[in-house]
Symmetry: C2
Subunit: 369 residues, 2 copies
């Protein structure tokens, strides 16, 4: 069983050192008589590229520079210094905070020019610091606003909480609601795992159906609730389950373009967090359904595609992350039939159809079970 | 300590009997040679009234009748019969399903006229059946789509899950994420409680702040995350904590009209579910803040009110549920200063201000601690 503290990026003291080093660079630039500056990869769609080694999308070679040679640039660096100071102190005290708290907290800073004008500014700065320092936000102890989702299945974990360690079996020690993923899942150590694969489920209703029907038990499956667009914590845990425990990851969503994006964010990473793809994305994740072909094969109850659905599908046809025969075929079929279906639409064949027939057949085809 | 199965409304076999009795009424009406019908309270804002005994808002005396003397009415009764049949069978088999599953499942019914045209139709029918039978949706084993939120604090519970009972202490046996409330919190039995009061918190960021700062531990408080407009499960659990354990309920939200509605749904119930007020609403719940007066007193970072904020505040001034000196004064002050603030805005005075100063002072004023 692997260690919880797989040091993908620096933690604790190391994270603090990386931050302070950044501030020291500005100091040295001043001392040298040069204008302080910070260089970052350009964060746009045109500057993400597929990394063949890691099979994820990462930033390309284009860079942008923040220099103190303009008032605007100088103010940005000033804000960076104040933020680094706050983060270093937070790490010293082993505390944490949210992005929103950082934004509000800046109002208490003595230097008014360093205060943030809105939260998007402080959010972006923290992302910039992640990229430049190579330290993840979680390791700065910045908690996301959004909660991670919940897990049910044959896995025993140890979680380091701020009140001591807790050992929890994700079936035997939890209620029907399952184990709640903490904001920073790197505090989790995997102790014992009897699971054969992971199934990430988009909707709460389907998650509850699988749990009620005992799917996790019968198929030795870890059911991970995504709850729409998955939180960072959920994606991180999924990746660790794959990398450290060698579990196949499957994703089960509604059959519409927004759900394919949910699959994409689990498997390919997102443009906004391409610097974190290696930390969050699981390129080996497999899409279970609902596939447009399922709508046809199982004659599912459907809704017609809206204009925005059609646009989203067309944009996926162009998206480098969806360039495969499978996706091209499925998306073109969906545009052709002009229909979408929810995962719970499988209930039109009875409440147990999904666990007795649909999933076992599909997972068998995919060689997962 | 009270029993988990406080039979507020019939459960299991009783729920089934109530449903079947409804169907029998239709049968008897047929047998008598009269046109079958179903009578319901009128479900509109004009037909809710304050019940002095229970201190909650309930439906008034006006009623509407569904009769089979029109094709439309006959179809409604047919759908009711099919739904009752499905629910009775579900209860027989001790299974459960979601509202969305019911809607989709109707596509498998042999009688096409009984199938629902959209989910709002089946949702409404289930509510009607709740009202007429006096049985709650949860006791029909209809699970909500939305998950309940999570609890952290000195409480030990036993939850009946479909894989056996689980005993869980909501501090010692859970991770940082806390105990996940199940969809039907009436499966929970309270075993031991060292809590002195309950604090329902709107945002995840503030919930995490209280937990990180050990507020639940220091003040013997059950921190219940609302996560925006609270799920039925969360409101039900809150009510049970009040009624069965005698705990004062406090509600801590952002300082804007939408958050006052969140408080209202915990304390007064909603128009849509006025038939459930006695089951879900806790009229003794107290509002902690953020109050408009706090924005002034603590000079909090704010945003200006939008047009829809102003409209919502004005509508609250007219709302029978907000007719108190406290609310009138606060809402008028807010319209006057034209500002709103989030609970996390307290971070502008430091990350610990909320737990060291704001909450202790406010709760002391309110005689909660």
């Amino acid at each position: 069983m692997s260690d919880a503290n797989t040091p993908d990026t620096p933690k604790g003291d190391d994270a603090r050192d990386q931050l302070v080093e950044l501030a020291e660079q500005f100091y040295d630039q001043f001392a040298d008589g040069s204008v302080p500056k910070m260089t970052l990869p350009t964060r746009s769609k045109s500057n993400i590229e597929y990394d063949d080694d890691s099979d994820v999308w990462v930033y390309g070679d284009r860079t942008s520079t923040r220099s103190a040679n303009s008032v605007r640039g100088a103010r940005k660096l000033l804000k960076s210094i104040y933020t680094i100071d706050f983060l270093a102190q937070q790490l010293d005290e082993d505390r944490s905070s949210t992005l929103r708290e950082l934004y509000y907290l800046s109002e208490s800073w003595d230097e008014e020019e360093a205060q943030f004008n809105d939260q998007s500014e402080s959010d972006k700065l923290v992302e910039d610091l992640e990229i430049v320092s190579g330290v993840k936000r979680e390791d700065f102890h910045m908690r996301p606003e959004e909660s991670g989702a919940k897990v049910m299945g044959p896995l025993r974990i140890r979680e380091q909480t701020n009140r001591g360690d807790r050992e929890i079996h994700c079936q035997d020690d939890v209620g029907q609601g399952g184990y709640q993923i903490p904001n920073n899942p790197d505090t989790i150590e995997f102790l014992d795992c009897d699971a054969e694969f992971v199934m990430c489920v988009e909707t709460g209703g389907m998650r509850d159906r699988l749990v009620e029907n005992g799917f996790d038990d019968e198929y030795d499956c870890l059911v991970v609730h995504l709850g729409g667009q998955p939180a960072r914590a959920t994606r991180r845990l999924t990746k660790r389950l794959h990398d450290e425990l060698g579990l196949p990851i499957t994703v089960f969503t509604d059959g519409d373009p927004w759900s394919y994006r949910i699959f994409g964010s689990v498997s390919y990473g997102s443009i906004k967090s391409a610097h974190l793809s290696e930390y969050l994305a699981t390129p080996e994740a497999q899409f279970v359904g609902i596939r447009p072909q399922d709508i046809v094969d199982y004659d599912l109850p459907t809704d017609p595609l809206s204009d925005s659905d059609v646009n989203a599908l067309e944009s996926e046809l162009e998206d480098p992350r969806f360039q495969s025969d499978f996706w091209t075929e499925q998306i073109e079929l969906q545009l052709d039939i002009d229909k979408k279906a929810e995962q719970q639409a499988l209930a039109s064949r009875g409440l147990d159809f999904v666990t007795d027939t649909y999933l076992p057949e599909r997972l068998d085809e995919m060689n997962v079970i």
